[in-house]
């Protein structure tokens, strides 16, 4: 896996959300830190959340611990971004 920089992380994360949830590029490009995800996107039910966690592990090469598997992690785009950056040691 190539080194993921902070700059590319944001783009990678948006692309992954678009791919997994079938959202348009324009829609994910419009996400801000405060954009709510879990509970706000009809695409994101519990099975999709679990699928998204799996896709995150595949893409970024980390393993999520049991106590990290939580809908809160997906409350907003900013929360998800901060979590992935932390897992990758960027923050």
């Amino acid at each position: 896996m190539s080194q993921i920089t902070s700059a590319s992380l944001d783009a990678d994360l948006r692309a992954l959300l678009a791919d997994v949830l079938g959202l348009t590029a324009a829609r994910v490009a419009g996400f801000t830190e405060q954009t709510p995800l879990f509970g706000a996107l009809p695409e994101l039910d519990s099975m999709a959340v679990a699928g998204l966690f799996t896709a995150l592990e595949d893409r970024f090469g980390f393993i999520l611990e049991e106590d990290e598997i939580d809908g809160d992690l997906l409350e907003t785009y900013g929360a998800l971004h901060a979590f992935v950056a932390r897992k990758l040691g960027h923050a």
Binding site: L21, A55, D58, E66
Partner: protein, 243 residues
């Protein structure tokens, strides 16, 4: 009435190389057997496709049928059976196990006279291990179970109950468990736990090797066609089979 043929007739007729429904004898399915989609007549390559497990099967269906069309046009025979308990199968999902699916796929391969097998993802766990062929992004059983157990745990926690994947796995191994709407018997969950693909003569293909600029259809929560992947996979199979 000598009128011109109504235009809908054109879409009625399947092209000769297009996939058609076909019955095959499946253990436990009675005298009528099970349905498969197949391009039954073809050249040297007679390919059995073993689909992914659970929802990934549905998410890849469109891509697999497109793959069958490409291979049919190239003169090859292809069969895409439903796993027992899935799709149009007459069997109960709750009665299934990896062993039952293995026996079914072996029977399908024999009935079709398959020379090669292509399995996808968790399908690699039940593909006939004696046939040469390919495994696209093969998965172990634990990787199949992980997202299903996590979704079940999230659902329980959303209703205020304590739940974790390890406890749910243990419960499933003992008593069976409904995962993502699939009523899984204890045998299926116990069998998946720790299972590894066993295809000896099969080459693992990574999605990245195919250079198809599309997201993996099995990861998409909203299914969508993957025409570039279908084409690249067909080209890879035809090229390898010639070599």
């Amino acid at each position: 009435m000598a009128r011109s043929m109504p235009s809908w007739r054109a879409s009625w007729a399947m092209p000769e190389t297009g996939p058609l429904p076909l019955r095959w004898p499946c253990p436990g399915s009675g005298a009528d057997g099970e349905w498969a989609l197949a391009v039954p007549h073809g050249g040297a390559l007679r390919l059995l496709i073993v689909p992914p497990l659970f929802d990934e099967m549905n998410r890849t269906r469109h891509m697999l049928v497109a793959l069958m069309r490409h291979l049919g046009v190239a003169g090859h025979a292809v069969m895409l059976p439903d796993l027992p308990g899935c799709g149009e199968s007459v069997q109960q999902f709750a009665a299934q196990s990896l062993n039952a699916w293995r026996a079914a796929m072996a029977a399908a391969a024999q009935a079709f006279g398959a020379t090669h097998v292509l399995s996808l993802r968790g399908g690699a766990l039940v593909a006939p291990s004696n046939l040469p062929g390919w495994a696209l992004e093969p998965l172990g059983g634990d990787a199949v179970l992980r997202p299903l157990l996590r979704a079940a745990a999230l659902n329980l926690r959303a209703t205020g109950k304590q739940a974790n994947s390890a406890a749910l796995l243990e419960q499933g191994r003992q008593h069976g468990l409904t995962l993502a709407g699939y009523s899984c018997g204890a045998a299926l969950i116990a069998g998946l736990h720790g299972a590894q693909p066993a295809g000896e003569g099969q080459r693992a293909i990574a999605l990245a090797d195919l250079n198809a600029a599309e997201p993996a259809p099995w990861l998409r929560q909203e299914p969508a066609p993957a025409p570039a992947l279908a084409q690249a996979l067909a080209a890879r199979i035809v090229m390898d089979a010639r070599a």
